[in-house]
Symmetry: D2
Subunit: 335 residues, 4 copies
C-alpha cells in the first residue's frame, strides 16, 4: 500500500478524491488537509458519516512529507504551486488538480498570474493519459487537466491530422453546476440556473489557450480554438460539442476507433453521447459524424471524475506502475 495525502478536501473534487482513495486497493489515504484544518472529514461531508472517519489537518507540507509518498492537491490555482514546490523539494510526488502546472510559463502568466515555481513547471507532465502516458510515467509532478480541456482534447485530437488548413475549431461546451465549485455566487443560486442555460466568458475563456497549446505540442500545428462554455441545470457532467472542417470526408467513427481501441477509459459510441452514461465514472464517451467536410464531435465526461479526481488517481496509478484502471470508478450512477 502506498501512503497518499489529499490537500484541499473541502470541495467537490476533494470529496471525490476521498471516495476513490479510501476504496483503492493499493493506495492508503493517510493524511487529509484543508487550509483551515481542525475538523473531521465526516463533518465536512456528512454523507461520509459511518463510512469514512478521518481527522482533517491544517495543511502543512512537512507533515505530508513525513507520512505520504504522493499528494493530491485540490487547491485554488496560485495556492497550489506554493504547496507543490515545497512537497517536491521534500520528495513527495504531486498530482496537482489546479491550473498551476498545465501551461507553459508565458501562457500561464498571460492568463493567470505570476508563476512562483518555474523550477518545477518545466518538469510537469500534462495528465491526459491517452496522449501523455509516457511522460506521466517518468514525472514526479503531474498537471491534471481541467474538465473542459479533457473533454475537448479527447474529442478533437484524433482529427487534428485531418483538419482543413487555416480553419478554426469551435467548441460549444456545457457544464453542470458542480464545475463552478462550492462557493456561493449569484450564478450558482438555484433560481438563477434552474430552468435556464447561458454562455459565459464566450470565446475569451482561459481554457482555449490550454487546448491550443496541447494541439501545438502534440501535432506541431497551430489551430485557432474558439471555446464557449455554457452552464446547464445539471449537477454533474459535461458535454462538449465540437465543430471543425476537415480536408476530406472520412469515417470519423473509424478514426476514433483506431486511435482509442485499446484505451480503457474512452468509449467510442455509434450514437450521440449523453452525460448520464458517464456520470459517476472515469469514462469519456465520444461520437462523431460528418456533413460533407464539416465534422461534429460530441464528447461527454463526469466533470468531477474524468475532469478532475478520478483522472488524478489514474495518473497516480501510472506513476506507480499500477494498472491504470485500478480502483477507478466505471459504473455510472444512471438512473
Amino acid at each position: 500500500m502506498i501512503p497518499v495525502a489529499i490537500i484541499g478536501a473541502s470541495g467537490y473534487t476533494g470529496l471525490e478524491l476521498v471516495k476513490i482513495l479510501t476504496q483503492h486497493p493499493e493506495f492508503e489515504l493517510v493524511y487529509v488537509a484543508t487550509s483551515e484544518g481542525e475538523t473531521t472529514i465526516q463533518q465536512l461531508h456528512p454523507s461520509l458519516e459511518g463510512v469514512v472517519t478521518m481527522q482533517v489537518e491544517k495543511a502543512d507540507a512537512s507533515e505530508v512529507a513525513k507520512v505520504a509518498q504522493i499528494a493530491f492537491l485540490a487547491l485554488p490555482h496560485k495556492t497550489s504551486m506554493g504547496f507543490a514546490s515545497q512537497l517536491l523539494e521534500l520528495g513527495v510526488k504531486v498530482v496537482d488538480l489546479s491550473a498551476d502546472y498545465r501551461l507553459k510559463l508565458d501562457r500561464y502568466e498571460a492568463h493567470y498570474c505570476k508563476h512562483t515555481d518555474t523550477k518545477h513547471l518545466c518538469e510537469a507532465a500534462y495528465g491526459l493519459p491517452e496522449f501523455y502516458r509516457n511522460k506521466i510515467k517518468e514525472s514526479r509532478i503531474i498537471a491534471n487537466p481541467g474538465c473542459y480541456p479533457t473533454a475537448s482534447l479527447l474529442g478533437l485530437l484524433p482529427f487534428i491530422p485531418y483538419i482543413k488548413k487555416d480553419t478554426p475549431i469551435f467548441i460549444d461546451a456545457k457544464s453542470g453546476v458542480s464545475g463552478a465549485g462550492k462557493k456561493l455566487s449569484s450564478t450558482t443560486h438555484y433560481v438563477t440556473i434552474n430552468e435556464n442555460i447561458f454562455a459565459y466568458n464566450p470565446i475569451k475563456h482561459r481554457h482555449a489557450p490550454e487546448i491550443a497549446e496541447k494541439i501545438d505540442e502534440l501535432f506541431v500545428t497551430q489551430v485557432e480554438v474558439n471555446f464557449v462554455p455554457h452552464l446547464i441545470p445539471v449537477t454533474r457532467g459535461m458535454l462538449c460539442s465540437i465543430y471543425m472542417q476537415l480536408e476530406n470526408e472520412l469515417d470519423p467513427i473509424e478514426v476514433l476507433e483506431s486511435l482509442y481501441k485499446d484505451e480503457p477509459f474512452v468509449r467510442v459510441r455509434n450514437n450521440p453521447v449523453d452525460i448520464k452514461s458517464v456520470a459517476g465514472t472515469n469514462f469519456c464517451d465520444i461520437y462523431a459524424t460528418m456533413n460533407g467536410n464539416s465534422l461534429f464531435i460530441s464528447s461527454a465526461i463526469d466533470n468531477l471524475l474524468r475532469g478532475a479526481s478520478s483522472q488524478a488517481v489514474v495518473n497516480a496509478n501510472i506513476i506507480c506502475g499500477f494498472d491504470e484502471t485500478l480502483g477507478i470508478p466505471q459504473l455510472a450512477y444512471v438512473p
Copy 2:
C-alpha cells in the same frame, strides 16, 4: 373584434394560443377544436379551470368558416395542409404552425412527404416578421417558422452580408423538453433527460434546409448550415449558439443594433443571453462577440411562444393591420 379559431388545441402550443387569444383586445376566440373533439378546454388543460371555459369541437373546416375569419392551425405536418387548403378555399385566412408551408416544394418533399396543397404553398408567407413583414401583410396563408429556425435566423441573418466566402455556419441549438411535444417517448421520460443533455439528429436535422433556404431567399447566397439540436433538462426555452467566420473583424453588437433598433421583439444584449429572461414572452434576445474573424452569436427565445404561438399571433396582428405588439406577452416568468 375579429373572430378567430384554433384547430389543434390539445398540445402545448394550442394551450399557449388559447391563453394569448382569450386575452387579446382585438381577437375573439370563437371556436376551438381538436381531431377528437367533444370535450372542454378546461378538461384538456386543467389549469384553465375557472378562467377559460369553452367547448372543444371535432375539427371541421366548414364550421370554422361559418364563425371565424382567421384560423390558427396547431396540427402535425401533413394533417395541417389538409385543413389549411379547405379553409383557404372557404375564405378563412390561415396561420399554420406546422412545417407544411415553410419550405419550397422540392425541399419540403425531400424532408417531409408529398405535398397535397401545392396550390397555396407558393402563396405562403414565411412568418418571421423582422424579415418578411411586407409579404406577411398581403398573405392569407402564413407559414409560422419553427422554434429552431426562428432563434437561428434572427441570430445569424444580420451577419450574412459579412460572412467569409465558402465557410460554413455551425448552429449548436439547445431546446427545452416542451419542444418535443406532449406525446410519450423514452426521450421525454423524466429519468432520461433530468440531469442529462445530448445531441439528437446531429447535422441531419430537417431544420437545416429551412434555415439555408431562407438565407438564400433573403441574401441570394448559398451557405452551408450545420445544425445540431440538443435536448436540455428545462421545460421551456431555447438557446442557439451560432458559430461562423466573417471576412473582417467588426463590432457585432453594432451590426445587431443597427438592424434591430426599431424591432419591438428583438433585444440586443451586451452580455450573453439566457432563456429565463425571455421565457413567457415573444422576445428574442441576442448577443454576439468576435475572436479575430470568428463570430459567436447567442440567441434565446421561448420555444412555445416566439418559437410558435405568440409569433403566430404577431403574424395575425400584421395581417389585420394591428400594432404588432397588440396582446403579445412581454413579461418574462422569471424568477
Copy 3:
C-alpha cells in the same frame, strides 16, 4: 388611476409587484425604491428591458407621500415597520408583505423582535381576503400573509368546525427555492438542493404560531399546529399537505365547495392538486379526502403570487373598492 409605490423592488416579490402593477388597469406605478436606490428597474431585473423602464429611488417615505396613495412594502421584517409607520403618519395606505403586522404583539415579539410600531399594529388587517375581507376594506394597513400561512389556512380553516377535540394538526409544507429569497446561502446553492429535498426548522418554524393565532381569532378555538416546511427542487410554487382528525366522517369536497363556491381565487379540485396548475396565478387549488376520521388536505399556490405579490394587489383592490380580480394573474405558466 390610483398612484402607487413599491418599496423594496430588488427581490423576487418586488419584481412580481412591478409586473402586476404596471399591467393593472386602475393602479399607476409612480415610484419604485430599494434601500440602495440609484439604479433602474431594468438593471435590477434585466428581463424587464424594453418593457418597463423606471428609475429606482433610494427609499424615502416623504417622497412616497408626495406622489402615491398606496405603498407596497417588500422589505425584510423590522425594516418594514420603520417605513410603514412613517407612511401611515403621512397618510399613505400600506400593504406590507413582511411579517411585521401579521401577529399580535406578544406573539410577534416572541418569534421576531421588539415591535417599534405598536400604534398601528392593532389596526392592521390580516390580508387573507377569503376570511378577512370586511376588515381589509376598512383598513389602511394590511399585513399580507406569508406564503406558508396562506396555503395552510385556506386548506384547513374550512375544517376547523369539524375538528376532533384536542387533536393536533400536522402541516407538511413543500416550498420552491424562490421562497428563500435572492440572498446567497449554502441551502440555495444549486448543487445543494437539486435532486434533493429536506425539512428545515421542523415543528419550530415561526409560521406555526401565525396559523394557530388566526384559527383562534376566527373560530375561538385553540388548536395545536405542527408545521414542518421542506425545501424542494422547484423554483416557484408551494404545496401544503395537511393532516387532521375530524369528529365525524364527512364529504370534504362538499365542505370546501360550500365555503368557497363564490370565491374568485380558490378552486376546489376533485383530484390531488399540483403546483404547475397555479404557478403564475393568484389561485389556491385545494383538494381533500378522508380515511375514516382522518382528513388529508392538499393545497397549492404560487408562493410569490398568492403567497405574496398578487395577494397584496388583491388587498389593494379591496381597499380601493375595485373588483378583487382586477389586474390579477389567472393564467398559469404551464407547461
Copy 4:
C-alpha cells in the same frame, strides 16, 4: 463464490442489481434474464458498455436452477410469484423484489390479485433486516420490502412502543420519479413533473396496509396508518415525513440511537435528513424531534437501493451467512 441469477434485468432495479452483484466479492452473477431475452446487458443499459458484458436470456426457471443457487426477481407482481414458486421447487433460493410475498394472504388478495403460490407465501420472510434478521437467516424466500414501507417502517417502528393510544400515524412520503419505473406515462413525462409536485392515491395507497401489518406483527398493536405518497422532481431518493402522537414527551434521538446503535445501515442524524446524503447507498438516515407530545420523524433512503436492490443483496448476504455489509454500496453520489 455463490452463483446467482437476476430475472427481470431491464428496469432500474434490475440495472442496480447488475451493478452490485458484478462487484460483489462473494456472489458471481451467472445468469441474467428478461421476459423477452435475446439481447445483451450492455444493449439494455448502454452505460455498462465496456464494463459488464453478458448475454441476457429469456427467463426460464429450469435454466436458472442449473446454474444458480439464489435468484433475484425484479419482476412485476403476479409474474413474480409464477417464477418464484418454480424456482423454490427446483431448490433455488429467492429474493423477490415484487409485492408478491410481502403481505398475508387476505391482505394481498384485497389489494393486489389472487395469490397463486400460497404454499410458499407463509414461509416468506419480510426482508427488513433490522427487524426480521433471524427469520431471514432461515428462509429460502425473502419478500424484499417496497421503498415506501422501508423508509416508513425504519422511521416509525422505534416509536410504536410509545404511541398514544388510538391515535393515527400520518406518513407524508416523497418519491423520486425512478420509483415509477421505466414505463411511459403522462405522470413521468418531463414536462409534467419538472417544476412540480403532487400527491397521488392519497390515503388509499396500497403501501398503507403493508406498513400496518408489520406494525401489528412486530408489536401486536393495531395502528391506523394514513399514507400519502407524493411525486417530486428528482430522479432517485425518497423522503418520508412521519407524524404521530406519543403518550409522553421523550428524547426521540435517544430512542433511535438505542435501537439502531449497532445497525450498519441506519444512521441516526442530529439534523433533518436529506436524500442526497443517502442516494447511491444502502443507508437509511433518520432524524426525529418533538413538539409536546407530537412527534416528527424524517427518514431518507435511495428508493432503488435501500428501497429495492441493495437491500435485496443484504438479504442474500444474510441468507448466506456473510457479513451484511459485504459488497453493499455505502458511498453516496453527492455532489
